[in-house]
Structure formats: C-alpha cells, structure tokens
C-alpha cells in the first residue's frame, strides 16, 4: 500500500434517536447537514463530494434515497454517491476518495427511518432467497442462535449478556435476568430497539483541515471484511472479519482509550471484545452504544461520530469505531481515530 494522505473529521452531527420520527427521512438528513454547515462555516458548494448510506427496504420504497437528496441539498447539482449500507461504509468510500488527491472535502451521511416497518420481518429478507429466505430467518432469531453457541462454548453467560445491557442503562442485573426470553437465550434487554435517526460528518484532507478546526480527528486507518452468507459455515462464537478489519486498519499500533462497538445484540460484545483483543484500559461503548440508541443505517456511522466527539473534546487520544452488517456479525468495519499527535 502506498503512503496514505492524512484525512480528518472536522465536524460531526447526529439527530436524537426517535422511536418514530414524524417527518420524512430527508428531514433527519437535513438537520445533520444544517448542523455541519453551521459548525464549519462551509457553504454547500464547498463540500466537493457527498456520499450517503441508507436502505430502501426500511421504508419499503424503492429509490427512497432519492428523496433524501432533498435533505442533502442537491442544487446546484452535486458530486454525489450512495451506498445501500450503513453510513459507515459511505465513510469508507469517502476516506478513499479524499486520498485520490483531487478532492479535499466530503460530506458523509447515514440515515434510516426503521419505524416504517417491522424490522424483524424486513431484515429477514437479507438471507439467501432460495434456501433460507422461505424459513423467515430474522436477525433476532439468528442472534439467539449465536448467543446459544457462545453459551455452549463456555465463552459467556446470560449474566454477561445482562451486564452489557446494564452498562447501557437497561436496569439492575437481577431485574434483567428475571425477565422472560424473547428469543431464547436472549431477553428483551439483549436486543437493541430499532429507531429513526441520522448521523453525518465532514471529512477534510490537506491544508483546509487547520482552517476548519483546532481539534481535527484523524482517521489513521479503516478496513472492512465480510464472511460467508451461511451461518453453518461460520464459527459463530468468533468474528474473523472483525479481526482482519482491525488489522487492516492498524488498530494494534497503539493503545486504545475507547471503542464504540456496534453491539445490536448483547452477546456480540463478548465476540467483538475477543476478536479485537481489547484490554481493560479501553472503555467500551461509553455512549451506551446501540443498545441505548439504534438509528438503523446510521448506527455504525454514529459509532464513528461518538469516538470523534470524545477525541475532539480531549477525553480520549485514540479510539476505535466498529460497524456491522448482516446477520450474526457477517460483515464488519473498523476505523481507527486519533487526535493531534
């Protein structure tokens, strides 16, 4: 790999996570874009490249991202793209786009309005169309299978799952463990509640970084990897794709003050901590993580925003943000962020 052009996050934005946002998804997007323009003093025209992540299926409407352009602000016409993924993957393309060298500024957005549908039914459509889709395998059921694999392997207990939920503010351990199962061995507190929301950031390379902020947050590495679509072909107690993405992002080249992990089901925290080799010094999900707020399709990018905010505020020097896609942590992205060195 050739030497990397330094790229920094100079501003971040995130909406509250709504249980059911009354307006259109474009309203969530526009709120973030307006916040970013106000924070940086940039005009819309000064953001040379825009890329968003969202998913048609949340609203059951093809081309739903087209309406989001109204929130992006696409007039005069903009140089723009879209991934049908969490906004964290939009960030990955933007980060590489700035490394090409001819573009210095990028707007990155992730947004979703999951309240439009029943997420367990909607996400069941991610599985293979011919053999698994007819079974109606939804991500919560698959997460239950993954949790059972962890218990059977002796790698975690139901109390460990509940402890993750308790740290996210779900309540006392005893009360949590007394609750009934929703997808055995998962209880309600083990499953993040899907919400509506957006997250966004401005990415800058070159001399403009110093013009725009005194507290740049550098993305020193980023990578993502995928695993097989077939749960039966994978060791569900491990996440080799997370490990490979962390290595590709250079996560182990220094101590990590914090890690924001996309833990949508509590057992995933155990798997991710092990795969990343996190040490006791690393604070995991100080924000509460997705269990405290899960704006579907923005949840991964929101992890990046959380880490960037803490670094910009001087609360941390170096942190890791993780995003995931697909059932049972099938696909994982890792970004390593650092303050001024």
């Amino acid at each position: 790999m050739t030497s990397q052009r330094p790229v920094a996050i100079v501003a971040t934005a995130a909406t509250p996570v709504h249980s059911a946002y009354a307006g259109p998804e474009a309203g969530l997007v526009m709120s973030c874009v307006n916040d970013l323009l106000a924070a940086t003093g940039l005009t819309r025209e000064e953001l040379a490249f825009t890329i968003a992540g969202s998913c048609d299926y949340l609203g059951g409407t093809p081309f739903s991202f087209v309406m989001n352009l109204d929130g992006v602000g696409a007039w005069p016409p903009v140089y723009e793209s879209h991934v049908e993924m969490d906004g964290a993957w939009a960030l990955f393309e933007a980060w590489l786009r700035l490394q090409v060298g001819d573009v210095d500024t990028a707007l990155v957005i992730g947004s979703g309005k999951s309240s439009s549908g029943d997420q367990r039914r909607v996400f069941a459509l991610q599985t293979d169309p011919y053999t698994m889709a007819p079974l109606g395998l939804d991500p919560v059921s698959l997460a239950g299978i993954q949790a059972r694999a962890l218990l059977d392997a002796g790698l975690a207990t139901e109390a460990d799952f509940a402890a993750t939920a308790a740290r996210s503010g779900a309540g006392s351990l005893d009360a949590l463990l007394a609750a009934p199962y929703v997808s055995d061995p998962l209880r309600a507190h083990d499953v993040a509640v899907p919400g509506d929301g957006a997250a966004a950031l401005v990415l800058v390379a070159g001399d403009r970084v110093r013009e725009l902020t005194d507290t740049p947050v550098w993305i020193t590495g980023m990578d993502h990897r995928i695993e097989s679509r077939l749960p039966g072909l994978r060791d569900l107690t491990d996440s080799p794709s997370t490990r490979a993405a962390a290595a590709g992002a250079g996560a182990d080249s220094g101590p990590l003050d914090l890690a924001e992990l996309m833990v949508v089901h509590t057992p995933e925290e155990t798997i991710l901590r092990n795969a990343l080799g996190l040490k006791a010094e690393t604070a995991v999900n100080p924000s509460g993580g997705p269990l405290a707020g899960h704006p579907v399709m923005a949840t991964g990018l929101a992890r990046v925003v959380e880490v960037a905010r803490r670094i910009a505020a001087g609360e941390a020097g170096r942190g890791l943000a993780h995003a995931s896609s697909g059932p049972c942590l099938q696909q994982n992205l890792v970004a390593v962020l650092e303050g001024d060195r």
Partner: protein, 384 residues
C-alpha cells in the same frame, strides 16, 4: 492526482430471462468471465464492489451479504452502490476510486438485475400498483423535447431501428428483431405517447463485471488495458420549480467535468464512439444535446444524418444499447464495459473501426443522476 486505473477484464452474461440460473450463478458467471479475461482468479482480487438498482426488484435486501460467497468476497471488503438507473456506471466509478486511492491493486466490479424474479414496473413505481412506470415519467419530457427542438416524429423510430440492428451483431443482446423497420416501430402499440412499444427497452436478466487494476497490475496482465482517463458524477433534486428535466443541469455539469478532466475540448470529434444510456429511443438525441456532444436542437439532426450508426462518424450504442437489453442495475456497467471493449478492439461484430477513445454513460432517477467515464487505448491520449 491519484493513480491510473485500467479495465483489464470484462465479463457479461447473455441478457434475457435467465430462469435456468440462480442469482448467485448469474453474478458468478460474469465475474468468472471477467477474471478469465484478465488472466486472474478470485484469489488475486483485493476488493469487490457490487451495484444494482432497488433491492425490491428481486426481494433480496442488501444482496452483498448473500452474494459474498458467489463473488469470492469472503474475507475481503465488499460494498454495495445504489444510485438508481445510473448505478452500473456509478459502481464502475466507485471501483476506479478504490484503485486511484492507492489502496488496492485489483478490484472486481459487478452489477446485475434479475427482473424475472420480481415485477419491475411495480417496483419502479414506488412499490405501488397502478404506477406509471419509467416510461410514464419520461414520456412528457420527451414530448417537450420534440416540441422544443422541432424534431420530426421519425427520429425516435430511427433510433429504435438502429439499436436493434446493432443488437443483431451482439450475441449477448436480449431483443433480436431481424425484420425491424421504421414502419414496424410506428405500427407497434402506443405505450406512453409518443413512445411506441418498440421504442422502449425490454425487461432483462443479466450480470456484468469488470476487473479494474492499477497501472502496475494492468501492465502485467495478458490483455490490452482500457485506461480510465476520466470519470464524473452529478446529481440534482428530482423536482423543483424551474428544473429543466429535458436538459438537466446535472447532466450538463457532469459532461463538462468529465471532458475537462480528460482534456477533451471538442467531444464529438475527439471521442470515437459512445455507449449512452438510452432506454427510450428519444434519449439518444436528448443526451447528445444534454451532454454537450451537439448544440441544443442539433442532436436529432445528428441522429437523422446517420452519424450515430455503426459506420457513421460518431457511433452511438454499437452494442444495441439499453433498447436491446436492460438488466437495469447492470445496464450502466454494460455501457462502461462496452466502451472499454471498443478501445481494446475486442467488440467483435460491433467493433467501431479504429476506436481509441470511448464514452460510457448512465443516468437514473427522474433523469437526475448521472455517471460517466472516458476510456482510452492510450493512457495519455493526445486530443490536439
């Protein structure tokens, strides 16, 4: 600025109803052909980029997850692009960005649609029954173009005949109508005035793939590279008072940015041929004007003169174009890879003699998303 990127492998399936092959089989078919062309295997690929139009067309959500195995992506990065009808070209550009950034040496770009697994007109109408379909969106703008330009009605028929005749030279093409004629087009049923049935694209299944490589990797390959000398994208709002959907500003801006980057000052002369996204016949003259290849009101005259025929001075859609095959999500990538075939000299029966520089183009949404690239036989084409 950035590293050079080249197309070193091309693969595509036949475009028709493909009931005999699964979704996985379809994309793998195109990917394997592209790898073979590049003299590579899946093991040589650093990253995969997947593109397609709405997931609702097949009912598989975020299909990069389920297609990871078929595309040899397990253990690698894969990401999914969706920019409406322009997505095939946008996916190629996304792949080129990965190479130009310096991060990857070889990237596999795949785009597909399997329309036979769903109901495209339903899905393209916002998932509502009784929708107007894509033709219903574009027909009023086409009528507006005809009124504004004073073009005679036969221009649309002429484009339909030309592209279907070209398709007879392309074994991958879906529609094969040996006795196609302007009379036959005119007499076919009126679907959306002024568009007749034979002025509209078919519903096709199919997948397309390219292997993109850095300059170092490209020079090691067995095949002649097609150099990606420039690419551009532009998007604008779907509608607002004062928007010109006949000649969208995003299309004009995109072409200007593209030619500037490539060093092209006289596109009609300096580009040898073009694969334009023409799903309805009239979009040929509309994009000739909308992308600065002809002055306003002059595009239809270029078509009428025969200049855009195979053998003309500026062949458009020698492959038969979208009018002959429309696997929606793949159609933009097919335009880009057919442009690459032309400059590599491997376009077979529809080869444009001496083509050195070619344009691949796609548009999408309410004619509001544009993605284009220029490929060249020479990494540093001299346009003086």
């Amino acid at each position: 600025m950035g590293r050079r990127c080249a197309v070193v492998g091309i693969g595509q399936t036949d475009y028709r109803r493909r009931l005999e092959v699964s979704l996985e089989g379809l994309v793998r078919w195109a990917a394997l052909e592209a790898l073979e062309d590049a003299g590579l295997t899946f093991a040589d690929i650093d990253a995969v980029v997947l593109g397609k139009a709405p997931d609702l067309l097949e009912g598989v959500m975020m299909p990069e997850l389920t297609l990871a195995d078929a595309l040899g992506a397990v253990g690698k990065p894969i990401h999914r692009v969706h920019t409406a009808g322009s997505v095939g070209a946008a996916t190629a550009i996304s792949g080129a960005t990965l190479i130009e950034s310096g991060r990857y040496e070889r990237v596999l770009v795949v785009a597909y649609e399997k329309q036979s697994e769903g109901n495209a007109t339903w899905a393209l109408s916002g998932g509502k029954s009784g929708g107007q379909g894509a033709g219903g969106t574009f027909a009023p703008w086409i009528r507006s173009y005809i009124r504004r330009s004073g073009a005679p009605e036969h221009i649309g028929w002429k484009v339909a005949v030309k592209d279907r005749r070209n398709a007879l030279r392309n074994p991958h093409a879906h529609l094969r109508i040996p006795d196609i004629s302007e009379d036959k087009v005119r007499e076919s049923p009126m679907l959306w005035e002024p568009l007749h049935f034979l002025e509209s694209c078919p519903s096709s299944d199919g997948a397309a793939a390219v292997v993109l490589a850095s300059e170092d990797a490209a020079r090691k390959g067995p095949s002649r590279p097609a150099w990606v000398v420039a690419h551009a994208k532009r998007s604008e709002f779907a509608s607002f008072p004062g928007r010109d959907p006949v000649r969208p500003q995003a299309g004009v801006d995109c072409a200007e940015a593209l030619y500037r980057k490539a060093g092209i000052t006289d596109p009609l002369r300096q580009i040898d041929c073009a694969e334009l996204y023409v799903p309805f016949s009239w979009y040929e003259p509309m994009w000739l004007e909308g992308h600065l290849l002809a002055s306003p009101g002059e595009g239809w005259k270029l078509t009428d003169s025969g200049a855009t025929e195979l053998g003309g001075s500026f062949p458009v859609n020698p492959s038969g174009g979208v009018l002959s095959s429309n696997p929606i999500g793949a159609s933009g990538l097919v335009r880009c890879l057919e442009a690459a075939r032309q400059v590599r000299g491997t376009a077979g029966e529809h080869q444009v003699d001496g083509a050195k520089v070619a344009l691949g183009h796609a548009y999408g949404g309410a004619a509001q998303y544009f993605a284009m690239w220029i490929v060249s036989a020479d990494p540093d084409p001299d346009f003086t």
